[in-house]
């Protein structure tokens, strides 16, 4: 795999080959498929019942029906989007296949693009049943959010890819010893992204940090939509701008970490 040169053509058939590789893998392993469905379903059921209880006892949630369960679904888009990206990458590390790919004509940008497509496929497998459960069990129809849902989804998935690209670079550089970062990094931004409460709950100085994260805009936007019936397009555009910066920065970081891995010989070891 060469260092990235954007002026060189990106090959659709190489990206297609990698998607096919992950698709074969998914189909070959029912535990992998089950894992995609299991946690989102568990989340939505748990939080759905909590919301039922709170809605009967709290005036805010009574007004803004679906805020909690909507937040759970959007959080899962963010978290599962990143996991879908990173797990496909980790599969190469676990299979000790990275050297084969690095030595092939596959370029970093093509590899990463194939991982983004797989993140969407894995997300669809997990999230669509989750939204249907929310609809049938708790009468919350996330699709009724309409066009704003597309804006929410795009901003969350872009953030998830940025995080996915960055942590994949870390694993590339530091081997499977850095694997835990894949599972935990997103939780580090969870309190700051204000998933279940408004940004105003945070101390003022921390609010500045929170507003540096695109998901914060999405969750604020969702609350505005559900409680005030207002779509805050300004929030979505701000999130999009930050996401553009994050995507470029994470890609740059990935290339820098790849170069560092080659310098330190990490691609030969790949282990701990």
């Amino acid at each position: 795999m060469t260092e990235l040169s954007l002026h060189r053509g990106i090959s659709a058939h190489r990206i297609g080959a990698m998607i096919l590789r992950y698709w074969y893998l998914l189909l070959s392993s029912w535990p992998r498929l089950l894992e995609l469905l299991y946690w989102p379903a568990l989340q939505v059921i748990t939080w759905g019942f909590i919301q039922y209880y709170i809605a009967e006892n709290a005036s805010f949630f009574a007004r803004a029906g679906g805020t909690l369960i909507g937040a759970v679904i959007l959080w899962d888009i963010l978290f599962r989007g990143q996991l879908g990206f990173s797990i496909s990458f980790l599969e190469e590390m676990w299979a000790r296949n990275l050297g084969n790919l690095m030595m092939s004509p596959l370029r970093p940008i093509e590899f990463l693009l194939s991982l983004t497509v797989m993140s969407l496929i894995r997300l669809a497998i997990g999230i669509v049943p989750m939204t249907l459960l929310a609809l049938f069990l708790f009468h919350f129809n996330v699709y009724a959010l309409g066009l704003p849902l597309i804006a929410f989804f795009c901003n969350l998935i872009f953030t998830s890819w940025s995080v996915g690209i960055f942590v994949s670079g870390l694993v590339l550089r530091h081997g499977l010893g850095a694997e835990s970062i894949v599972w935990t990094l997103m939780f580090a931004i969870m309190p700051l992204a204000c998933i279940y409460y408004p940004v105003s709950v945070l101390p003022v100085w921390l609010q500045h940090v929170a507003w540096a994260l695109p998901p914060t805009y999405v969750f604020e936007g969702m609350r505005a939509l559900l409680s005030e019936n207002t779509f805050r397009i300004d929030l979505m555009l701000d999130a999009l701008a930050i996401n553009a910066v994050l995507l470029v920065a994470s890609f740059w970081a990935f290339l820098a970490l790849l170069r560092s891995a080659k310098k330190h010989g990490s691609l030969l070891s790949g282990g701990e």
Partner: protein, 267 residues
């Protein structure tokens, strides 16, 4: 003959002639305090089979990894099929391939699925025909739809070899290609490599601990020790120089530091 003795007679990276498959020029790799590869130079003509010998930690794998572009040199230059590595790797990666015990084929995928994916990555034309041809040549047909993880060591090696040959590479880099194979399968693999070189005029660089394998396959042997080239010649010339009947005895002389004594005895 030492590295320095031979340096002047070896072609350098400047030799961009079409006859050179690999040119390594004053290559150095330092990991913290360790000089894994210490100022080595050699060039391999196209169509040759060269054995890279040396004990554990001699620098063979690091050298091959630098040729492939998987490891960046600390200094020095590598040129593969007329292109500088890793800067121009996009121009050559589709024309070369490798097999190594440091990598595996994905275990859950079938042999056919694996070969299909790598065939697509290498943009192999008429891929189904090529897979069928390899399955026939390498005797994969009986287990081509079986998951790679369920194969025996010998079968996995043949599959890895099929992956390494999927794009009919002009340059093949092999790190311990017959490690952990029984003698029959190992012999069969060697025979296949010989035929592949002959039929395709391919260049093969082979790192091995198996001296019989190197004697049988290689036109030339480069012996490495502690990151440096200890000797570089045909197997026959090296055995004559050390007054030994086999490369294994030469290897032991080099590994145990009996180099000068052996050479003097030969004189």
């Amino acid at each position: 003959m030492t590295e320095n003795d031979k340096a002047s007679s070896r072609p350098t990276v400047a030799d961009r002639g079409a006859s050179v498959a690999i040119a390594v020029d004053h290559l150095v790799k330092v990991y913290k305090q360790t000089r894994a590869v210490d100022d080595i130079s050699f060039s391999l003509p196209r169509g040759s089979i060269t054995g890279l010998l040396g004990g554990n930690g001699a620098g063979k794998t690091t050298t091959i990894a630098m040729i492939m572009g998987l490891v960046l040199p600390t200094s020095g230059r590598v040129q593969v099929l007329g292109h500088r590595m890793p800067e121009e790797s996009a121009a050559v990666l589709g024309r070369m391939n490798f097999e190594s015990p440091y990598v595996d084929m994905p275990m859950r995928l079938t042999v056919r699925q694996n070969l299909t994916i790598f065939g697509k990555l290498y943009a192999v034309k008429d891929l189904s025909d090529r897979i069928a041809e390899l399955a026939d040549d390498l005797d994969l047909t009986d287990f081509i739809d079986r998951a790679n993880g369920k194969l025996s060591a010998g079968q996995k090696t043949r599959v890895a070899l099929a992956k390494a040959l999927i794009n009919q590479p002009e340059l093949l880099l092999l790190d311990e290609p017959t490690a952990s194979l029984d003698p029959d399968t190992a012999d069969w693999v060697r025979g296949h490599l010989e035929r592949y070189r002959r039929d395709n005029d391919a260049t093969i660089l082979l790192a091995s601990h198996n001296m019989l394998e190197v004697e049988r396959l290689c036109d030339r042997v480069i012996i490495m020790k502690r990151g440096r080239i200890e000797d570089d010649d045909t197997p026959e010339a090296i055995m004559a120089r050390y007054n030994r009947a086999t490369l294994e005895e030469v290897f032991l002389d080099v590994a145990r530091g009996r180099v000068n004594g052996a050479k003097e005895a030969a004189r």
